[in-house]
C-alpha cells in the first residue's frame, strides 16, 4: 500500500537524498495518492453495487424458486431458509430458524434419515434422499432433500434444497400399482390362454381322431367329402390352437427346450419338402443350400428349430407369385462347445413396407390389416419365431424391399455333438471309374478332384471347354474312356451349355454329364435340354456329389437292358430323396391313444409318423408310396387285418427291404417266433418303452443308412 510505503523509516544514508528530493516528490506522491484513492473508491462502489445486485438476484431466485433452500452450520443450527422452505413445512421464518428439517421427518423414516444425515456430516459428503415429512399442520408430504457441504474460513456449513415431490410420488405409486395390476392381468390372461388352448386341444384330438376312424367306415362319396372337410377344418383349428398355446407358453415362461441330436441339413430339406406343395402352380423355384461347414449333427431342439424355419419358409409362398424362394443355412459363429447357425429365407415376393419390417415380429401384427383377410394366419407366427430364436440365443429379423422381396433371418446357438458320425463310405460302384472335371476355377478343380479321388475314382481336370471333346476322344482312343464328366456352367470362354452341346454331338450317350452351377436350380430345365444327366448346385457337398454319380452310374447300368428309355435329369432334390431324408415311420395301430402317443413321442425326436388304423390300411398306405417309409411299426393284434397278415401281404408283394417291427403283447408266448415267421424283422413288447422304440429306429434306419 502506498501509505505504508511512505511511513516506512529510511536508513541514515538514504536520508540526505530524500531530503533533496523531498519537496518535488512529496507533491507528486500526493497527486498520485489522490488519484489512487479515487480509483479505489470507484472500484469499491462498483463492487458494492455488484454485491447488492448479486444479493438482490440471489434473494429473488431464493424467494421465487420452487425448491426450499436452507443453510445449516456445523452445530446444526439453521442460518437461513427461504420462503418456499417455510411453505413446505408450514412454518414461519422464526420457526424455520429455530428448528431443523430433520424434526419434521415422518416418524417411520426418522431413524434412517437421521443416520444418513449424520453420516454425510461426518464424512463431509453430499446427501440426497426422498423421505416423508409431517408439516406443522399435520399433513404428510413427500420431499426430496439434497444437501452439500460448503467449506469457508468461517467453518463448514451445509446448504441444501428441499423439494416437495408428493405429487410425483403419488403418481409413481399409482403407476407401480397399475403396472402390477397389468402384469397380473397379463399373467392371468396367458394362463387362461394356456388352459383354454389345452381344453380346446383335448376335444379337438377326439374330433380328429374319431373322424379318422369314421373315414375308415363305409361311407358314400358325399359323406367321405364331408368327413374330409371336418378333418381338414379340425386340423386347421388345431394348428391355430397350437400357435396360441405356444405363444402363451412363451409369455408365461413355461416353454422348455429339448436337447436332442439332429441333422440341420436334413431338417432344412425336410422343411423344403413340406413347403414345396404350398407353391402350387406358381412359377416359383424353391432352393435350399447348406454351407459346407454346417455340422452334420448338432444338439438342440429339432422341433423348435424346425418350427421357426417352417414358419418363415411357409410364409414365403403366400407372398411370392413368381421368382424364387430360397433357404440357406450357414455356420455363423463357433465356440468350443456351440455353433451359431444362421438361416436365411429369401423370396422375390411382394416385400414388406419399410416402416413395417420391425413391427411384423410383434404379436398380432401383420404388415397390413388386409393381410389377415387375404393371406390368413394368426399374426402370432413371426412373434413366436422371434421369441423361440431369442430363447435359442439367437434372433429373427427381416430385410425387405417393397416389390422386390424379403429376406428373413433366423439365428440360433446349438450345442456341438461330441463325436461327429464318421463319413459315409462311397458306394463301390465308383471304384476305378474315370471322371473329367471341367472348371475354370482352380480351387474348384482341386476340391472336386479330391472328393472324387477319395471315392476311388480316376480324375482328370481341365480349365476350359475347348479341350473337352479332344480329351474325351483321346481317352477313348487309349481305351480308357471317361464315365462321367463334371462341367461348370459358368465359364468365361465357353459356357457349360456349349460344352454339353459339343460333347453330345461327338458322343451320343456316355459319358454321363453332370453340371455344376452356382446359379442354383433355376437353370435346371435348360441344362436338361442341353443334354445333362445330373445337376448339382454349388457349393457341392461331397456326399451329394458322390451319391449323384453313383446313382447316375447305377441307372446307366440298369438302363442298358432297357435301351432308348428317356432318363430324366437328376437334381439335388431327387438325389437327396435316395440319400438322406428324415426318418418316416408308418405306424399300424388301431388304438387312438397309442397312435397319439407314438406321434407325440416320435415327433419330438424329429421323426414323422403316418398312422394306419389297421393292417389293411397299413398295406394300402405303404404300397401307395413305398419309397416314403423307412420303418413300419406293426401292432400284431388289429381289426380287419392283423399285423401278421399285413406283413405277409407286404412281403408277398415284394417289399422285402422295408423293416417291420412288431409290437406285441408281452403275455402271448410264441409271439416272437410268429412275428419272425411272418416276415417281420424284430419285435418290441407292449407296453411300449421309449428307449426300445428309439433303439429299433437306430438299428433299422440309421445303421442301415450308415452302412
Amino acid at each position: 500500500m502506498p501509505m505504508k510505503q511512505a511511513a516506512r523509516p529510511l536508513h541514515q544514508d538514504q536520508a540526505q537524498d530524500v531530503d533533496r528530493l523531498s519537496n518535488r516528490s512529496t507533491i507528486l506522491d500526493l497527486v498520485k495518492r489522490v488519484q489512487q484513492l479515487e480509483t479505489e473508491k470507484a472500484s469499491t462502489e462498483k463492487a458494492q453495487a455488484a454485491l447488492k445486485e448479486s444479493e438482490e438476484r440471489f434473494r429473488l431466485i431464493s424467494e421465487t424458486i420452487h425448491f426450499g433452500v436452507y443453510e445449516i452450520d456445523e452445530e446444526g443450527s439453521c442460518l437461513y431458509t427461504n420462503t418456499r422452505y417455510q411453505e413446505i413445512f408450514g412454518i414461519n421464518l422464526v420457526e424455520s430458524l429455530t428448528t431443523h428439517w430433520l424434526d419434521y421427518v415422518f416418524d417411520a423414516d426418522k431413524k434412517w434419515v437421521s443416520e444418513q444425515w449424520t453420516a454425510s456430516m461426518e464424512e463431509m459428503d453430499e446427501l440426497s434422499l426422498d423421505c416423508r415429512i409431517v408439516t406443522n399442520q399435520n399433513r404428510q408430504r413427500w420431499v426430496h432433500v439434497h444437501s452439500s457441504p460448503v467449506f469457508s474460513d468461517a467453518g463448514a456449513r451445509y446448504t441444501g434444497t428441499i423439494e416437495d415431490i408428493t405429487h410425483r410420488k403419488q403418481a409413481e405409486q399409482e403407476l407401480q400399482l397399475a403396472k402390477e395390476d397389468a402384469e397380473m392381468a397379463s399373467r392371468a390372461k396367458s394362463q387362461f390362454l394356456a388352459n383354454m388352448s389345452h381344453e380346446i386341444r383335448t376335444p379337438m384330438n377326439g374330433v380328429i381322431g374319431f373322424t379318422d376312424l369314421l373315414i375308415e367306415t363305409d361311407l358314400d362319396p358325399t359323406q367321405v367329402d364331408y368327413t374330409d372337410t371336418i378333418k381338414r377344418s379340425g386340423e386347421a383349428l388345431l394348428s391355430l390352437i397350437n400357435d396360441i398355446l405356444d405363444f402363451s407358453k412363451i409369455e408365461s415362461g413355461e416353454l422348455e427346450f429339448e436337447c436332442i441330436e439332429y441333422d440341420p441339413e436334413l431338417l432344412a430339406f425336410d422343411v423344403c419338402d413340406l413347403v414345396r406343395p404350398r407353391i402350387g402352380n406358381n412359377p416359383v423355384e424353391l432352393l435350399c443350400s447348406i454351407a459346407e461347414d454346417v455340422p452334420t449333427l448338432v444338439n438342440g431342439d429339432p422341433l423348435r428349430f424346425r418350427q421357426v424355419i417352417t414358419n418363415l419358409l411357409g410364409n414365403a409362398p403366400k407372398f411370392t407369385e413368381k421368382g424364387e424362394i430360397s433357404l440357406s443355412l450357414d455356420l455363423e459363429e463357433e465356440s468350443d462347445t456351440r455353433v451359431k447357425l444362421h438361416a436365411r429365407i429369401s423370396d422375390t415376393g411382394i416385400g414388406i413396407p419399410k416402416d413395417k419390417v420391425a413391427s411384423i415380429f410383434e404379436p398380432f401384427q401383420q404388415a397390413d390389416g388386409s393381410t389377415t383377410r387375404k393371406y390368413g394366419g394368426t399374426g402370432l407366427g413371426l412373434s413366436i419365431c422371434k421369441q423361440l430364436a431369442n430363447m435359442m440365443g439367437g434372433d429373427a429379423w427381416a430385410e425387405s424391399e417393397e416389390g422386390l422381396g424379403s429376406t428373413f433371418h433366423f439365428t440360433a446357438w446349438q450345442e456341438k455333438v461330441k463325436s461327429q458320425p464318421p463319413p459315409r463310405v462311397a458306394p463301390g460302384i465308383l471304384n476305378g471309374k474315370r471322371a473329367l472335371v471341367v472348371d475354370d476355377h482352380a480351387g474348384n478343380r482341386k476340391i472336386l478332384t479330391q472328393f472324387l479321388k477319395a471315392a476311388q475314382m480316376e480324375v482328370v481336370s481341365v480349365d476350359g471347354g475347348q479341350e473337352v471333346v479332344e480329351t474325351l476322344k483321346a481317352a477313348q482312343t487309349e481305351n480308357k474312356p471317361f464315365d462321367v464328366c463334371l462341367i461348370d456352367l459358368n465359364m468365361p470362354e465357353m459356357d457349360g451349355y456349349t460344352v454339353a452341346d459339343l460333347v453330345r454331338q461327338a458322343f451320343p450317350t456316355p459319358p454321363l454329364l453332370l453340371v455344376l452351377s452356382s446359379a442354383l436350380e433355376r437353370d435346371a430345365q435348360k441344362c436338361e435340354q442341353a443334354g445333362f444327366d445330373g445337376f448339382l448346385s454349388k457349393p457341392v457337398r461331397r456326399q451329394r456329389l458322390i451319391q449323384m454319380i453313383a446313382r447316375l452310374l447305377g441307372e446307366e447300368t440298369a438302363d442298358q437292358a432297357d435301351a432308348g428309355k428317356k432318363r430324366k435329369m437328376h437334381t439335388q432334390y431327387s438325389v437327396r430323396e435316395a440319400l438322406k431324408h428324415s426318418v418316416n415311420i408308418l405306424l399300424a395301430e388301431d388304438n387312438l391313444v397309442n397312435q397319439k402317443l407314438a406321434v407325440m413321442m416320435l415327433g419330438k425326436a424329429g421323426y414323422t409318423v403316418d398312422v394306419a388304423d389297421n393292417g389293411q390300411d397299413a398295406v394300402a398306405k405303404f404300397t401307395k408310396q413305398p419309397e416314403n417309409y423307412d420303418l413300419i411299426f406293426m401292432d400284431v393284434q388289429m381289426p380287419e387285418m392283423d399285423g401278421k397278415a399285413a406283413t405277409q401281404t407286404l412281403r408277398r408283394l415284394g417289399f422285402n427291404d422295408i423293416p417291420i417291427v412288431a409290437m406285441t403283447a408281452h403275455a402271448m408266448k410264441g409271439d416272437r417266433e410268429m412275428c419272425i415267421e411272418a416276415g417281420m424283422n424284430d419285435y418290441i413288447t407292449k407296453p411300449i418303452k421309449r428307449e426300445k422304440v428309439f433303439e429299433m429306429i437306430k438299428k433299422f434306419v440309421f445303421q442301415k443308412e450308415g452302412a
Binding site: H198, G209, V593, L597, M600, K604, Q637, A665, A667, P687
Partner: protein, 105 residues
C-alpha cells in the same frame, strides 16, 4: 398318480401327457360301454377286443392297475369265461372314475 413322472417316462410334457389321458378317458369309456354291452349279450369276442384296447392304451400310458384289470378281463373273455367278470368290470369302472376324478378334479 404322479403325472409328471409318468409323462417323463414317456419323454413328454405334463400337458401332453394330460392330453393323452383325456383321450384315454374318452376312448376308454367308449370301450368300457362296449364291454358292458357285449357282456349283456355274452359276446366274449367283443369283450376281449375292447379289453385288449384298454389294456394296451393303459399300459402305454403307465396306468398299470387299469392295464392289469383289463388284462384279466381280456384273458377270461379269451377263455369264454364271462360269468365271473362282473366284479372285475366294476373294478375297471372304479379305476376309470378315479382317473377321471383325478384329472378333472
Amino acid at each position: 398318480m404322479n403325472f409328471k413322472e409318468l409323462a417323463e417316462n414317456l419323454g413328454l410334457e405334463v400337458d401332453e401327457y394330460l392330453e393323452l389321458i383325456e383321450l384315454f378317458i374318452d376312448t376308454g369309456f367308449a370301450d368300457f360301454h362296449k364291454i358292458q354291452e357285449a357282456m349283456a349279450r355274452s359276446d366274449s369276442d367283443q369283450v376281449m377286443r375292447s379289453a385288449h384296447t384298454i389294456k394296451g392304451a393303459a399300459g402305454n400310458l403307465g396306468l398299470m392297475d387299469v392295464s392289469e384289470t383289463a388284462k384279466i378281463i381280456e384273458e377270461n373273455a379269451n377263455n369264454n369265461q364271462l360269468d365271473n367278470l362282473g366284479a372285475t368290470v366294476a373294478t375297471l369302472k372304479t379305476q376309470f372314475d378315479a382317473i377321471e376324478a383325478f384329472v378333472h378334479g
